[in-house]
């Protein structure tokens, strides 16, 4: 009964997200002016920034699920963690691609090692390490427990990176255009509206994907359990 309700709610959310994203896409292409001092390419921020946001959010959720798993030993939290990591990995790749395409147009090179680019590379490395670690662990319980520990350890280094990385790289790249596009002065109210709508839309999109992935994993687990039972 409860399951049914949550499914209905999820279905409603899916339709809502669909129309919301249509609004964001139209808004980003037709309703907003170009950001001051930039060409039309600046519209990438309506996609690129929300993608990076989701990539970080997904990792936060994985670390929180990790803590919950260690406290309760309930496998469902591990399912949340791995699902979130998989989706987060996808979004961080998308964020990296959109970012570097834009960098090629605006800065003249696909890659410049500016602080944000460095952060996303570190995030990608953490995600990749997380997958590698899981595949090298044997039992389901080990995968859950040890990868939870790793995600927590990786997560607590993030504040240090935020502080440390811009410091060393600032000396190499004195002018950092990413920051200036995000200051209020360049963003008109209309841009702001679409920008935050997009962040909201992407977050919903992420949540919907996450729920799908979690349900899929649960079904897989139930089938496995059932198969084992039938054997005996």
């Amino acid at each position: 009964m409860k399951k049914n309700q949550s499914n209905k709610w999820l279905a409603a959310m899916k339709i809502f997200t669909f129309f919301w994203m249509i609004f964001v896409i139209i808004g980003s292409l037709y309703l907003t002016p170009e950001a001051a001092g930039f060409k039309s390419t600046s519209r990438v921020i309506f996609y690129h920034v929300p993608m990076s946001w989701v990539a970080s959010l997904a990792f936060l959720l994985a670390a929180i699920s990790g803590i919950l798993y260690l406290r309760t030993k309930k496998l469902v939290y591990d399912i949340w963690a791995i699902s979130s990591v998989e989706i987060g990995f996808l979004f961080s790749i998308l964020a990296t691609i959109t970012g570097s395409l834009w960098a090629k147009v605006e800065w003249g090179a696909f890659w410049n090692w500016d602080p944000r680019e460095t952060s996303i590379v570190v995030l990608l490395m953490i995600y990749a390490a997380y997958f590698a670690l899981r595949s090298a662990l044997e039992s389901r319980e080990q995968k859950a427990q040890i990868s939870a520990v790793y995600s927590i350890l990786a997560f607590i280094t993030v504040p240090f990176l935020i502080f440390v990385v811009p410091r060393i790289l600032f000396t190499l790249h004195p002018q950092n255009p990413v920051f200036t596009t995000q200051t209020g002065s360049i963003m008109s109210p209309k841009i702001k509206l679409i920008f935050f709508s997009s962040i909201f839309g992407f977050t919903l999109f992420y949540y919907w994907l996450l729920r799908l992935r979690v349900d899929l994993e649960k079904i897989k687990n139930n089938l496995l359990a059932k198969k084992r039972q039938d054997n005996f």
């Binding site: 030993k73 496998l75 039992s139 389901r140 319980e141 687990n221 496995l224 359990a225 084992r228």
Partner: protein
């Protein structure tokens, strides 16, 4: 007087349930034997009893008198021998003994160590590295380290593996001695050893 109570122990490996809702109770002067075919989870249960593994459900509690003892307070009370518990191969017998004595915070002197070495037929090999020992001698050495402190709780997994006849006899004496006033828990399928168990847990696949 020691007492160990296990309640509702359930364990799974790769989500496959190994055993469900096992309970037992054992106190000083008793022995408990775990029997069951290969793969039935004897070793898993042994590991849960001595805190090497946390079960997914249930718990094992230790009491000394009426006092609960936490896992962290048992290092000097449990002695254990099992095929997956190896000693340090590149240290000598004496160095192994010295390390275990210190790390467990035991009050035993070298004399006691010598007596044990003699009892298990290893006298004269104290200063040889363990990698020069045969597998039977290693098994004997494991007993020396496990019995250093005359533990109130002795846990054995396959007590006589790798041992010759004289070794078996020594171990049977040890087991007989242990269950007289202390706790003995062991896992085996050997009929000759099963008779040492007052209580029995039969595990099925």
């Amino acid at each position: 007087m020691w007492k160990i109570i296990g309640t509702g122990i359930t364990q799974a490996f790769n989500q496959r349930t190994i055993f469900r809702k096992l309970s037992f109770e054992i106190k000083s002067g008793e022995s408990l034997v775990l029997v069951g075919p290969n793969g039935s989870g004897k070793t898993t249960l042994i590991r849960i009893v001595c805190n090497l593994l946390h079960p997914i459900e249930g718990k094992v509690e230790f009491y000394y008198g009426n006092e609960t003892k936490m896992a962290g307070q048992l290092y000097s009370s449990i002695g254990m021998v099992g095929p997956y518990l190896q000693l340090y191969n590149n240290l000598t017998a004496f160095e192994n003994y010295a390390f275990f004595r210190k790390i467990r915070g035991l009050n035993v002197d070298h004399g006691h160590f010598k007596i044990l070495m003699k009892k298990f037929g290893l006298a004269g090999r104290e200063f040889d590295e363990l990698r020069t020992y045969s597998s039977g001698m290693l098994q004997r050495m494991k007993y020396v380290c496990a019995l250093l402190h005359s533990p109130p709780i002795l846990i054995l997994d396959e007590p006589v593996s790798n041992l010759d006849e004289s070794g078996e006899r020594i171990i049977y004496d040890v087991m007989e001695e242990q269950k007289r006033s202390n706790i003995l828990i062991f896992a085996t399928n050997n009929p000759e050893e099963i008779k040492f168990g007052d209580k029995k847990i039969r595990l099925a696949v």
